[in-house]
């Protein structure tokens, strides 16, 4: 349903993170993720769930090719990632739209960069703008749109290259509750049947359960996979799902794990703070 001119099903990307460590040297060395092993199957919708600062955005930045791992490697379809590329679409937390271009110009940017002609690029862009329901705003500038609309442009822009892998970094985190729900349903509608692999980062448990095939919970920094929870809920999913029994069972299980992890991190912090005083 995404781009009717293309065959509806393509094979999503296969993503492997092999013992990836990412350290930044700011004032002191910060290890964002440490020895992370993660595999995402083709066509899978994976949600990465974790607290603020656990390095979940860093994982996306590595897969996107924005950040090189300090150790280990990220592999997409058997090829090691060394730089950004149009086979991996990214939707940013703060949308990162080009404010100097119209909605149409933003969405057409990818196809233009890939050397598709102006006409073909605009055609693709218009199609996607329709899909995300912004037909009447094609000529508007991003600064004139609401947060939810901006993020829909961000989604359309990422989809314009028809990437087999979609990376989403808390894209709905700053939206109000109603808009967020509508965006989640829109995303699932667009994604269903495309076969694209999605890695979606969030700190919202409900969002993760509603969207994902599988949820990976990260430990506090440095981020490592704490536990994986498959979400066996049937698709297509509508929002009534959130009050069903299986949903609530998964949520209970998840919340318990997260709480455990948070408490562990807090007590570690408290111990660390107490140490200099005792020595």
């Amino acid at each position: 349903m995404l781009t009717p001119s293309n065959p509806p099903t393509q094979l999503g990307s296969h993503v492997q993170l092999e013992h990836v460590t990412v350290s930044f040297s700011a004032r002191e060395e910060i290890t964002a993720i440490k020895d992370l092993v993660l595999e995402v199957r083709p066509g899978e919708f994976l949600c990465i769930l974790g607290t603020t600062g656990c390095g979940k955005s860093t994982i996306l930045n590595v897969v996107a090719g924005f950040v090189r791992p300090t150790m280990g490697r990220a592999i997409v379809n058997g090829v090691e990632i060394t730089s950004p590329g149009p086979n991996r679409g990214m939707v940013f937390q703060q949308h990162a739209l080009f404010p100097w271009q119209t909605v149409l110009g933003n969405v057409a940017f990818g196809p233009r960069c890939r050397g598709l002609g102006r006409e073909r690029s605009l055609e693709i862009a218009r199609e996607l703008i329709n899909v995300v329901g912004l037909r009447n705003f094609a000529a508007a500038y991003p600064g004139e749109l609401s947060g939810g609309m901006q993020q829909r442009v961000g989604l359309a822009r990422a989809l314009a290259n028809d990437p087999a892998l979609l990376l989403m970094d808390e894209p709905f985190g700053s939206l109000d509750a109603q808009t967020r729900t509508a965006m989640q349903e829109l995303l699932l509608r667009i994604w269903s049947g495309t076969g694209k692999t999605v890695i979606f980062v969030t700190h919202d448990v409900d969002e993760a359960i509603f969207l994902a095939d599988r949820i990976v919970v990260l430990t506090a920094r440095p981020g490592q996979v704490k536990i994986e929870v498959p979400v066996g809920l049937p698709r297509p999913r509508e929002y009534e799902l959130v009050t069903s029994r299986p949903y609530i069972e998964i949520k209970r299980q998840l919340l318990e794990l997260i709480r455990e992890e948070t408490l562990k991190a807090m007590s570690a912090d408290i111990r660390a703070a107490a140490e200099p005083a005792s020595s």
Binding site: N61, A64, G65, F66, S83, P84, G85, P86, R88, G89, M90, F92, Q94, A96, L97, F98, P99, W100, Q101, F109, G110, C113, R114, Y141, P142, G143, R157, A158, A160, N161
Partner: protein, 247 residues
């Protein structure tokens, strides 16, 4: 009505000016009335000298502004993007920056003569620094994620520079250029006062020598008008070329 209110301050000043001159306790040679000034204005307008001088001054401002801005943007992009350039050229610029363009006039005349080159150079000097600073800050402050977004959409290095970095820095560059317009007018007058045979600055100085205060004031008013028009025209141009933000 709202437009009339904008004109009110000018009307008030004109009235006070007229009343003061009319009161008669001020020497009319030192303090000509609005009418006498208007008379001088018409006289200069009819002789054609006012229009010639205005065009010459405006032309100098435009040339120096365009060249100085172009240089400022070019060097600003280079110092912001290439560390080595920043450490060498950037350092040099920082040292030269505090030298006021007015202080350079005698040197410019000695080295470059009384022709257009010396005047253009003075204006370029004044225009260059604010444009360079704002371009440098704008380019080096471009949001990392916007660049990433372009790269992940398949943009090459050159495309990222021309389609993302430069437009993103645009509003900084433009605000630097706007500051530079006012500086360009200061520079042109200074340059014309101390080494020229035409232009509004030269004419003001000449009127001073022959003690024609009415002509001086008329020329000053025209100079003010030119400056305001330039700023207005620049804002219009920017709004047209960059419709995503309003100046």
């Amino acid at each position: 009505m709202a437009k009339l209110i904008r004109l009110l301050p000018i009307a008030v000043i004109l009235f006070c000016w007229w009343a003061l001159a009319r009161a008669g306790f001020l020497n009319s040679a030192l303090f000509p009335s609005p009418l006498a000034t208007g008379h001088a204005f018409v006289e200069m307008l009819l002789s054609g000298e006012l229009i010639t001088d205005s065009l010459i001054t405006a032309g100098r401002v435009l040339l120096g502004f365009v060249l100085g801005s172009a240089l400022g943007i070019l060097i600003g992009v280079l110092t912001a993007r290439i560390k080595l350039v920043d450490q060498t050229v950037g350092q040099l610029i920082q040292i030269l920056r505090p030298v006021p363009p007015i202080a350079l006039v005698p040197l410019a005349v000695v080295w470059l003569g009384l022709g257009e080159i010396s005047k253009t150079s003075i204006i370029m000097w004044g225009v260059f620094f604010p444009v360079w600073v704002s371009t440098h800050l704008g380019v080096s402050g471009v949001n990392k994620e916007v660049i990433w977004a372009a790269q992940s959409l398949g943009a090459s290095g050159r495309k990222v520079l021309f389609r993302v970095v430069l437009p993103a820095a645009g509003r900084y560059v433009v605000s630097g250029m706007r500051v530079a317009i006012a500086i360009a007018f200061i520079c042109v007058v200074v340059a014309e006062m101390s080494g020229a045979l035409d232009g509004l600055g030269y004419r003001i100085n000449k009127s001073y020598v022959v003690f024609r205060v009415d002509r001086m004031i008329a020329d000053l008013a025209v100079l003010g008008l030119l400056g305001a028009l330039s700023d207005f025209g620049f804002a219009r141009l920017v709004n047209r070329l960059m419709p995503w933000f309003r100046l």
